[in-house]
Symmetry: C2
Subunit: 276 residues, 2 copies
Amino acid sequence: MNGDNMNRRPRRRFSAAPEAPCPARHCQVCAALESEGLAAREFLKSRMTQAVFETGDGLPEQMLLAGGIIAVSHGAVVIQRLMDDGRRQVVGFRLPGEPVVLGRPARGVTAFAAVPSTLCIVPADAVTALKQNFPGAAMRLCELALSLEDERTEHLAVLGQFTVAEKVAYFLYRLAGKIGSRAPGGVHVDLPMTREDIADYLGATSESVSRQLSRFKRDGLIALPSPDRVIVKDLPALAAEVPFQPVIEDAGGSIGGGGSFRFPPGGDEARVAARP
Amino acid sequence: MNGDNMNRRPRRRFSAAPEAPCPARHCQVCAALESEGLAAREFLKSRMTQAVFETGDGLPEQMLLAGGIIAVSHGAVVIQRLMDDGRRQVVGFRLPGEPVVLGRPARGVTAFAAVPSTLCIVPADAVTALKQNFPGAAMRLCELALSLEDERTEHLAVLGQFTVAEKVAYFLYRLAGKIGSRAPGGVHVDLPMTREDIADYLGATSESVSRQLSRFKRDGLIALPSPDRVIVKDLPALAAEVPFQPVIEDAGGSIGGGGSFRFPPGGDEARVAARP
DNA sequence: GGCAAGGCCTGATCTAAATCAAAACCATAA
DNA sequence: TTATGGTTTTGATTTAGATCAGGCCTTGCC
């Protein structure tokens, strides 16, 4: 469409070793498929392609709207909602093993690679076929998609209620849990996104994010050997800055699973008053 | 658990005519079930019960976690995420015909009736049985649940990017579209929730919401015959305050539906710059 | 090497919205 | 009717975070 990728410079440095094999055991999508046996995964695997995106490359709109499956193999993808006047809300970051789109058109959002990234792509018709041939696996995928909703709910609370300090602490804490690597001195986290991306994810400005990172650094909670590398030196202290503990990632919420509740109510429980 | 409903007074006036029949034609859940024929709906209908909640009654936690189906027949339900220190984020309001929980445990949230409400309740084992006997219908339900996610995405942008004026305009606009009734002089909307609820939904304070409503009133966009009744006199003007047009409610997003996209990319599309 | 462009950090200032406070309103019950 | 308790509205003040602006550092290109 627009051939002008002249003014699109790599904004992030490190590469994602694009040719390494897909780390399947961490892949949420594959895990969901395998839960019904290996056949479903093989079925999709043979219909799957991979694609490489450079930093800043947008995922084509039809790709997001087609209703196929897109998952991150290497790299990182930013999902965003743009507004008429140029403001944007970053809806989420997708890291290796996580799905960008899961068998359903992505409405009203765009996405781009934050670093050089490899994506697994399953076309929509393959998903349709999966539905017919492996209904159980298709249901599993649907449930995986739903389980991601918990993250959204949490994000809502972060945007609506957290201070900037809490927001940044939350962001680091979650990211450390996802892609942090334990090492002497703390948990190392490579940031695949810019301060601007983080800010738009948290509903803040890049200046505020930068300031808060500096403050955490001054207070000894983190170190910043380079702008895109954070070492969380005191994870518990960081967690203490977050007003709630994140809902534990289940990644396989089951329809009809859950508790032992039977029947209606005597309608009386915590209508907990707001701000007591 | 806590028998002290002494200090829980009705905060909202109007009742919901709790004995009127369920307005099925507006019910998203029923619509999803019927799309596969009437059998699935009848199957659930015979296993369904109704329950009445008074203003402020919390939905029992097990009910939310069981993984059954809860839908609003009459009234309104507030879904919220509470934080350790008493802050809360209202995640959504559920109005007649809308599902509160849809075959999946609600993680980390609580819910209560904002006004006297009647809920339809399908126990979890009936949902399990539905899955086995009517896989198509179950898939439809799952997709309905996913389509609600678009609303969440929108909500994220509202919380992260909107000013208070925009937030309140958005809120009124959406509510008018859902439960507004056309009448001479404008669209009438009955608010089943308090200013506090609205504020916690929008990530603002009740004072700010109140002030903004007064401002809209002064500017002639709305009238406020009573605190819980809004007449939107100038809907287009209200819409103009909202920085994006809401994603059109599809309410039946289909897996594998959507566009005509075929295959991978030449990875080049709108990496639209933030705030140009 | 030198230059230009982004990204990041930090300080100074400004402002939208929160907080604090009090009055008005409204529904229920005595 | 009046008293009561909660909700809403409005005003005065404060403040967290946005905006504005400058400087530094890194990266890629000539």
